[in-house]
Symmetry: C2
Subunit: 298 residues, 2 copies
Amino acid sequence: MTVEWIAVDWGTTNLRAFAMGRDGIVAQSTSDDGMGRLDRDGFEPALLHLIDPWLTEGRVTEVIACGMVGSRQGWHEAPYRAVPCTPLDPATLVTAPTRDGRIRVRLVPGLKQVQPADVMRGEETQIAGVLALRQGFDGVVCLPGTHSKWAHLSAGEVVSFQTFLTGEMFALLSQASVLRHGLQGDGWDEAAFDAAVSDALSRPERIGARLFSIRAEGLIAGLAAASARARLSGLLIGMELAAARPYWLGQAVVIVGSEAISASYARALKGLGVEARVVKGGDAVLAGLLMTRAKVNA
Amino acid sequence: MTVEWIAVDWGTTNLRAFAMGRDGIVAQSTSDDGMGRLDRDGFEPALLHLIDPWLTEGRVTEVIACGMVGSRQGWHEAPYRAVPCTPLDPATLVTAPTRDGRIRVRLVPGLKQVQPADVMRGEETQIAGVLALRQGFDGVVCLPGTHSKWAHLSAGEVVSFQTFLTGEMFALLSQASVLRHGLQGDGWDEAAFDAAVSDALSRPERIGARLFSIRAEGLIAGLAAASARARLSGLLIGMELAAARPYWLGQAVVIVGSEAISASYARALKGLGVEARVVKGGDAVLAGLLMTRAKVNA
């Protein structure tokens, strides 16, 4: 096995490294050493802890990393590039300071939008991956997650994008708010999800009241946990779709994310007459890092 | 000093007790022994810890308590009464089990609304207090807080009410979400508050996107913490007002709450042409407990 280079997806909560050979992944390793728990001096040791077995004495292995690792609070800042622009530009990679002579680490910059103000880090690589996997794609990429993004692509450039706090609100409300009491348990109620999406789309301003009704129906009407959780998800996704209407209406949409959340978005969009394609988040980020490496060496 | 009875406001996070004499409060005491940190056997000791100095051996002192103490997870359940109904009915008080012969503790039941499902505990006593302080009041009572309530009163009855998760969302978003990074500091930007209220009222569905823009503007445009915090508050209050429009439009509105949050709601309502009166939350709950005691002994 020859490790030619190492691809790294380094977000706030996770670090994922892929040893890349001539024909693709030859090994991979993951840890929870995300940016959120590291100080500046902690990044190199955290990376070496994962990739040390893949390194060779006397040879410099190239590492390309995307995500929050390149933020101001990360290993080293890779300043945002401003849209409209291509999702990746090899000339803008930033080299991180390292002590170990066996690695050279380059960080992918995120994108910013000046007006309305918005930022992304990591998703630009997934978008580059979508373009690599589906050459010539024009349309919209939806990246659901903690901070869901919608990006409009045209002629290979990110024209505009918008971020929603949907996933973080779901996590906070389901784990830390009064609603948590009624959400514990298994199962999923698709009818409750569909009704909540539809409800939020038609009356988005009622979200604050509809959220509390999940608790109240649990107390006085025995609302099941499976229905409560699906309703919470549907309300938040529906509200996002209400605001993202200019992005999906009449557009070709590709969803990039984990399986379960992508399926929920695809289902909600289908109810609105939009047939979205789904690309796995891991596939997109790896395709984007592969494309970055190819362009760096072109 | 003669303690005739004891009034207790017992919520999720706080316990407040008032020793009542012939002419009003003769002593008061507070602890953070809210319902949230007590198990069933912990309520009586927590109460005695505060009120022991006010009790007399060989005499039973009457205690009337409102709030979450009467919930299923509280000391003893005081089942909800269904609206439409008066905010208080002395015949429905529930006696809590006690070991100490010096006290008799009675719990005020909360209110429920079957459709749309909603519940309140403690606010019914504040509403009774508003009616005691402003006899014959017909209109709307707004009770901002962790779970803001809007209640429509007519002919001395609560006709309908609606709860919003506004305060809890503000707490979660400002303390636990990615937004917390840009909210630390002092000061308050009233113009940012006003603009955010107006923004949320006109485009309520955009809330999820506008929330993330607070973070993005902090990162790329140096948004000040005072503006960020005011904007977060304004967006959430504006969204509540958008949904509560049937409550405040063309109505006499009384706001019951703490000083700062009441002022924010009054300011937002004034921008909508509604001149609301403000009653301090503590005054309202005490007036409600006084009225309860008077009716119990009538």
